[in-house]
């Protein structure tokens, strides 16, 4: 157990440290596609450091609820990362049904953000909150459905089992179709859930079209820094989940001889562990590049068309389910 603890802890720390890199990668891809140099890859790190040094300003009408979403978002993100494996080893915490905790963490963070938006009394933020609530009502069942079919397919009830466990007798040659469709569905879900184009634009400054950004308009200083960090963590978690689904065969088991008789890591085991973590990291970065490409090549949808993304994601998730059940 102790041999597994340290690499899992390293995975968690790596996730916490690298999460703000993903928005930088997306922005860099968008800039390159547009023929520009773009902002530095580490821009969000600089922004977070700058914001943390500032003093917060709170609206007069707001209450304690206004200060809640930042800490709640980061805490939810860290809790979600505790149950989400990074690489070949399981997560730090694992128990049957922990995938529900993952969905619950997102829901809690969203609930706090909606409360804070409503707490300001601003009509624009209220509008953003209602939009967020509407789209989350479509996204959450779909996210749970994706996790449930993955659980059914792998015959495991923990995220660690689902993403790093061996294949079960149920798994057949239809596996690749299943993983591909599930990853597609989750990728489509990633876009609106993380306020990316075509559902939302993280760089927008037009209140009438904003969803996520409009809810954090009144936040400043460390509160805004926590919110930005929480949204980067959420993007990282979604990407890591998709990477775990797409790389089930490559990292499912460490090779024999990874541990010696005393249960300690051997050199072969350590190299295999680094390889699997590197592969996951590469997959996460590739997903960020893909998000950047989608944002560069697609226009933003009209608000009334955003639910169509969920319809398409749901249809592809159903296809994934059919590919293993038929």
């Amino acid at each position: 157990m102790s041999a597994h603890l340290l690499p899992s802890l390293c995975g968690l720390l790596l996730s916490l440290a690298l999460a703000p890199l993903l928005p930088g990668v997306i922005n860099r891809v968008k800039a390159k596609m547009g023929g520009r140099q773009g902002r530095p890859l580490l821009q969000l790190y600089f922004d977070l450091a700058k914001l943390m040094r500032k003093a917060p300003v709170y609206p007069y009408a707001s209450s304690a609820f206004f200060r809640l979403p930042g800490p709640a978002g980061v805490a939810s993100g860290i809790t979600a990362l505790l149950v989400l494996p990074f690489g070949a080893l399981g997560a730090l915490v694992s128990f049957p049904g922990d995938f529900l905790l993952l969905a619950g963490c997102f829901a809690l963070a969203r609930f706090c953000l909606i409360l804070a938006a409503l707490d300001t009394g601003s009509a624009f933020e209220g509008m953003g909150a209602t939009r967020e609530a509407l789209f989350s009502a479509l996204a959450e069942p779909l996210f749970l459905f994706c996790l449930l079919i993955l659980s059914y397919h792998m015959q495991r009830f923990t995220l660690s089992g689902m993403l790093t466990g061996g294949l079960t007798p149920l798994a057949s040659h239809a596996d690749w179709v299943f993983y591909l469709m599930l990853a597609c569905s989750l990728f489509l879900l990633l876009l609106p859930e993380n306020s990316r184009i075509p559902a939302d634009d993280p760089n927008t400054h037009l209140e009438l079209t904003m969803i996520h950004e409009v809810m954090i308009l009144d936040h400043s200083g460390p509160d805004l820094a926590l919110l930005e960090y929480a949204s980067a963590l959420k993007l990282w978690i979604f990407s890591l989940l998709i990477a775990g689904i797409l790389l089930p065969a490559g990292i499912e088991r460490l090779p024999a001889g990874s541990f010696d008789a005393a249960g300690s890591w051997t050199a072969q085991g350590i190299s295999a562990l680094f390889a699997s973590m590197g592969l996951n990291l590469l997959a996460v970065l590739c997903i960020a590049v893909l998000v950047g490409l989608v944002e560069s090549l697609m226009a933003r949808f009209r608000m009334e068309r955003v639910p169509q993304i969920f319809t398409l994601a749901g249809a592809i998730a159903c296809l994934a389910a059919l590919s293993v059940w038929s």
């Binding site: 057949s172 690749w176 319809t311 249809a315 059919l322």
Partner: protein
């Protein structure tokens, strides 16, 4: 998918996995086409579907890949992934930009209907029983679902160009249904059908242009004013 073990047993491991991924991608692209509102995006999807389908003869052929097979595959790829999308793109470019129109059947409903079509195809495939060619069972559901998606595009869309997309998607489904049986010399039959389709796409591209010149719109509702 039905008889998948039999079908995959007939192929090498790499080919079987490749086929699975390709069939999955085709069904996903069907759903994306049904959900797509912008015609330029639909043309890209049709090109992608054509590129995927163009590679199929190579994967289906389990024996040694000779020069003839590679040449035919290259021809399929060229027509499906390059020529047909080029015709569509030229037609699209010639038309003045128009705002997206509301289809007869909404995009979300179209996707759900497409999903229903796939479920129906699976059911129909399971009712067919054992086939002489096990690959046919593997291809049947995605192929039939693609034909259904094409039909849906034809009847649910308001614009003539979008209906043309439906025609090509339907042809992709028919092609997919024929690929497992198009071994050896039978592949020429597929090629002749494809050439017919290409000519039809050219004719339709010209017709669409003339329709726009006559009606100043691509909305097929305007055809209702034509009298005998």
């Amino acid at each position: 998918m039905p008889d998948i073990a039999l079908a995959t047993a007939a192929l090498s491991g790499l080919n079987a996995d490749g086929l699975q991924v390709i069939l999955g991608l085709i069904v996903i692209s069907d759903m994306c086409l049904l959900a797509a509102e912008r015609q330029r995006f639909s043309i890209r999807l049709i090109a992608l579907q054509g590129a995927i389908l163009g590679l199929l003869p190579l994967l289906v052929h389990s024996g040694e890949k000779d020069a003839r097979l590679i040449a035919i595959t290259a021809l399929f790829f060229l027509i499906k992934a390059a020529l047909l999308p080029l015709v569509l793109r030229r037609t699209y470019k010639k038309l003045p930009p128009q705002p997206p129109s509301r289809p007869y059947l909404g995009h979300s409903l179209s996707v759900l209907a497409g999903l229903g079509g796939f479920v129906f195809s699976l059911w129909l495939g399971s009712r067919l029983g054992d086939t002489a060619n096990p690959l046919f069972s593997l291809f049947f559901a995605p192929a039939f679902a693609t034909i259904f998606a094409g039909l849906l595009l034809i009847v649910a869309r308001r614009r003539a160009l979008s209906q043309m997309f439906g025609y090509l998607v339907m042809e992709n489904g028919i092609y997919l249904l024929g690929v497992p049986m198009a071994q050896h010399d039978a592949i020429w039959l597929e090629l002749s059908v494809l050439l017919d389709i290409m000519v039809a796409a050219f004719v339709m591209g010209i017709a669409v242009r003339h329709i726009h010149l006559a009606f100043h719109s691509m909305d097929v509702d305007h055809f209702a004013c034509i009298k005998d």
